[in-house]
């Protein structure tokens, strides 16, 4: 399979795997879990033909530490899992952040807490954007909303990881992983990893060896290391924020939603327009860094009566929305959990209540 024809029907999980291979990922370590196991299936089939390594690890913890090793050797490497498995990887996330290793991790999220269920959810927003592992660190977090975007953002995730030496987390959900949509294949510009002079690949006796570590016993050195990391995160926050803003100008209500939820909201916007209610959408594509400026700008529009964050959780991203709005306008929340999706009707009712509080027109 050299070049797939334009616009092929692909499952979200397959698109992630194919995109990774086309981005030059030649090392994949994983452990099966619904609803993302098709990624491992695809890698098991494809990796051999491109001269790469597919390995089913003995656990999620082993897989993330194999990622640490391969990334340390300068390889483009990925692991994927779903919520409970991503929880297991959190220690590895922290070590990878400390050692500044570029890698890509995909969470095709399901519902929790605990083993929870296998249906889509967005209950991992806090974990994805605000830590999960110990210490002061950040992962860049991308939130695709279509199979095409899963493909595109997976390719871009590898570039982003290499550019900043960070873990890039793609936060999808079961719906995106399982559904099929057309995918146009973009040929990645830079399929091979850029030069990584810091990688531990052997010195050939010609230079002093590189060290990859996250341990700094000397407090002064560790503080300096932390300041260096924070400066790097600040640079990511300045340069890499991405979001899609639709119809915010003149809107009465601005909805914030990401991933699958944003897709549902798009339909609601059309229905609301039929009733004469203008609704805008801000869809963060990077969950971290969060598009705070776009949200604040939307809240500043005089026409906007309130913002409504719609999520598949009990209210997580809404905290970042409130921080960005900073009291300028009311921020409401609508969420479903347990694998339940909000219906268009229930979102529309929330919008009507904001736009037409008296029930009039």
């Amino acid at each position: 399979m050299d070049r797939l024809p334009d616009r092929v029907l692909m499952k979200g999980n397959e698109a992630i795997a194919e995109a990774a291979i086309r981005a030059g990922c030649r090392h994949y370590f994983g452990y099966p879990i619904t609803p993302q196991t098709e990624i491992a299936h695809y890698m098991a089939k494809r990796m051999k033909s491109v001269g790469g390594v597919f390995l089913q690890a003995e656990s999620e913890v082993a897989a993330i530490n194999m990622v640490y090793g391969a990334a340390g050797a300068g390889a483009r490497v990925m692991t994927t899992s779903s919520s409970p498995g991503i929880s297991l990887k959190q220690e590895g996330f922290s070590y990878i952040a400390g050692a500044e290793l570029p890698c890509v991790v995909v969470n095709v999220a399901r519902c929790g807490p605990g083993l929870g269920g296998i249906l889509p959810a967005q209950g991992d927003y806090f974990q994805a954007t605000k830590g999960g592992g110990h210490g002061d660190y950040r992962n860049a977090v991308l939130a695709p909303a279509s199979v095409q975007e899963l493909y595109q953002l997976t390719v871009e995730a590898f570039d982003l990881a290499d550019r900043y030496r960070v873990l890039v987390l793609i936060l999808a959900d079961g719906t995106l992983g399982q559904m099929m949509e057309p995918v146009s294949h973009l040929e990645p510009k830079d399929a091979t990893a850029a030069g990584k002079p810091w990688a531990t690949v052997g010195t050939g006796g010609k230079r002093f060896h590189n060290t990859i570590t996250s341990i700094y016993i000397d407090p002064e050195r560790l503080e300096a290391h932390n300041l260096h990391l924070q400066a790097k995160y600040a640079k990511i926050a300045r340069n890499e924020v991405r979001c899609e803003s639709v119809g915010v100008e003149g809107a009465e209500v601005v909805v914030t939603a990401f991933g699958t939820t944003a897709r549902i909201v798009r339909n609601v916007i059309r229905q609301a327009a039929e009733e004469g209610i203008k609704v805008g959408l801000i869809r963060p594509i990077t969950l971290w860094p969060f598009p705070s400026e776009a949200v604040a700008a939307a809240a500043a529009h005089p026409s906007v009566k309130a913002l409504l964050s719609v999520e598949l959780n009990a209210g997580q991203m809404v905290e970042d929305v409130r921080l960005a709005v900073n009291g300028a306008k009311p921020v409401q929340f609508h969420g479903r959990m347990g694998g339940m999706l909000p219906t268009q009707r229930e979102i529309l009712e929330r919008i009507r209540a904001i736009a037409r509080p008296e029930g009039g027109t």
């Binding site: 029907l9 079961g174 949509e181 897709r263 549902i264 909201v265 059309r270 268009q344």
Partner: protein
């Protein structure tokens, strides 16, 4: 052209997910936007399967349907569960061989075909779904016969391409049985 929003539902193994995928693939071959969303959750593990398919000229918003234009029900539980999703004036297609029950709805068009019995006569039970897809194409005009034939060639493994003429016979039978 108007969008086509379809739910296909039945037992696992009846080819429900593949049937939906064929509709999406046919739509894509006509240059339209498509989405296909399978059930993979607890329902699947209980032995039933369904998928939501959208074919549209516009970019597709939610791949999750709350309402649909047509329902293909290959078993009785599917009819009971999903008939309320069909929009007034929409179409319910059922495999009469397996679904003796009638829908409660009277504001939709009912196309009840002895699909499994006909497929059995043709010697291949998987044709039941194809017969109903022929009826769906006829009733909704949502996708063309030639794109369906090409979609079969894309989705079936090469070892089964010899069956395409028979598959198309089943498709045409469905078109005829759907009536004008």
């Amino acid at each position: 052209m108007r969008p086509l929003e379809v739910v296909v539902s039945g037992f696992g193994g009846q080819g429900v997910l593949s049937a939906g995928r064929l509709v999406a693939a046919a739509g894509l071959l006509e240059g339209r936007e498509v989405s296909w969303l399978p059930s993979y959750g607890p329902e699947m593990r209980g032995g039933t399967a369904n998928c939501h398919v959208i074919v549209s000229d516009e970019p597709i918003g939610s791949p999750v349907l709350n309402e649909c234009d047509a329902l293909i029900a290959l078993n009785a539980p599917s009819l009971e569960k999903f008939e309320s999703m069909v929009r007034p004036g929409g179409t319910i297609l059922i495999d009469r061989t397996l679904v003796p029950e009638a829908p409660a709805r009277s504001d939709v068009r009912l196309i009840a075909i002895e699909a499994s019995a006909k497929a059995s006569e043709m010697g291949n039970m998987t044709y039941a779904g194809v017969i109903l897809l022929g009826a769906l194409a006829q009733a909704t005009g949502g996708f063309r016969r030639d794109s369906f034939e090409k979609a079969l060639a894309e989705i079936l493994p090469a070892s089964k391409h010899a069956l395409i003429p028979e598959e198309m016979e089943a498709f045409d039978l469905g078109r005829t049985l759907a009536g004008p």
